[in-house]
Amino acid sequence: MCLSIPSKVVEIDENNMATVDTMGVKRQVTLDLIGESVEVGEYVLIHVGFAMNKISTEEAEESIRLYEEIIEQMNSGQIDEDEGDMGYASKRT
């Protein structure tokens, strides 16, 4: 349910409409549902033509750091490599 897409704000006009960029394509969305101020360069989540919230890039980066840490721990043997059988099909090509 509820397809919503992270997009970067590239312009905001006087009617509180933002132009957002999603992988190089642009659309106008209204910022009317967002209670806080939004700046150009910030990321918002858009749903059916509305920005519904500001995405916290700090939190996103925090998540990514956590995943990197998991990999580091695996590589350094803190997580036992052999305990779990990888189980996924090996790549074919």
């Binding site: 190089g24 659309r27 790549k91 074919r92």
Partner: protein, 331 residues
């Protein structure tokens, strides 16, 4: 009472139901049975095909209905290995249509015919009352002379490589993005182009594709599924190797589409002997639009009549024939 819906014209499952249920019921014969892009006639010396064109807007980024009406038919011939030669042109025009716009469209037809090396040998014009058609519909038929023999959807065998000529989905995405209410702006251009020059270049390099098909309505997904059924094999594709440009990805994210289901008008898929792959990609990449040409998978016998997509983390799923009218997913 069952009625025709837009889904019946989508190039996918419903479209096939109509073909099987109505057209084949009365008209099926040895030619139609092969279900190829064009039929071989006169003992295989000639290829013959037809196509109709309705598009809104008439002019779009990367092409117009005139260019499209030449590319569509000539590409069907080229995909059979035939050099497009003779074309018929029939136009159904809504009253009130601007003459200058028609001039523009026919000029575009001339330009594209020159690229294919074909000429118009017969034509027809009908004007209908306002509201009977959406501005302008075009039908073209084409005859081509066979240059590359033995191309067929039933030719694929285990071990064959699958190559796609360029990044997929640009036509479908560009047209959809411009629809009223969708209002997405991008620099995306339709891939609309004549494919004969590319096929000729492959031929000159002595590459013999086993099968070629332009991925029009129904996109890459439809082509691969048709092949898997026709050749009774399985096609396994590495999802990350399917070339998709950033803008098409963006439009797909926004609207909930899959790039593989989007229409193309100048992108084709080839089944090749694996030894021919490197050379074929080299040849195709000499055309500027084919920078992202790549080998995306191979033919196996694991799940016959099915297309399987593999992810980068080793999971698999079936890629089905697209169904229904293409509608934005809200959820």
């Amino acid at each position: 009472m069952k009625l025709i819906t837009l889904a019946h014209g989508n190039g996918g499952e419903e479209n096939n139901e109509l073909i099987e249920g109505i057209f084949y019921k009365y008209l099926k014969n040895d030619y139609l049975k092969k279900s190829e892009d064009a039929s071989l006639i006169e003992g295989g010396k000639l290829a013959f095909t037809t196509d109709s064109f309705t598009i809104s807007p008439l002019f779009f980024s990367g092409g117009d209905i005139g260019k499209l009406s030449v590319c569509g038919t000539c590409n069907d011939l080229a995909m059979m290995g035939a050099k497009p030669k003779y074309v018929t042109l029939a136009m159904i025009i809504e009253e009130g249509f601007e003459v200058s716009v028609l001039d523009e469209i026919v000029k575009s037809i001339k330009k594209e015919l020159e690229i294919c090396g074909a000429v118009v040998v017969a034509g027809d014009t009908k004007v209908v009352p306002r509201g009977s058609v959406d501005r302008l519909f075009i039908n073209t038929s084409g005859v081509g002379v066979m240059q590359l023999e033995g191309i067929s959807a039933s030719n694929l065998a285990v071990g064959d490589a699958i190559v796609v000529s360029r990044d997929i989905g640009t036509h479908g995405a560009a047209i959809y993005a411009n629809r009223e209410g969708i209002d997405i702006t991008s620099t995306l251009k339709s891939d609309c182009a004549s494919l004969w020059p590319m096929v000729e270049a492959l031929k000159d390099a002595r590459i013999k594709p086993k099968e070629m098909r332009d991925a029009t309505r129904g996109g890459l997904a439809a082509v691969l599924n048709e092949w898997a059924k026709a050749s009774n094999i399985c096609i396994e594709i590495d999802e990350e190797k399917i070339p998709v440009c950033s803008e098409v990805k963006g439009i797909c994210e926004l609207l909930g589409f899959e790039p593989s289901a989007l229409a193309n008008e100048g992108t084709f898929v080839l089944a090749l002997d694996p030894n021919d792959v490197d050379e074929a990609i080299k040849v195709l990449k000499t055309f500027s639009q084919n920078k992202m040409c790549s080998c995306i998978g191979k033919v196996t016998d694991e799940y016959t009549k099915k297309v399987v997509l593999s992810s980068e983390w080793g999971t698999k799923r079936f890629l089905d024939m697209p169904t229904g009218e293409l509608l934005p997913r809200i959820c």
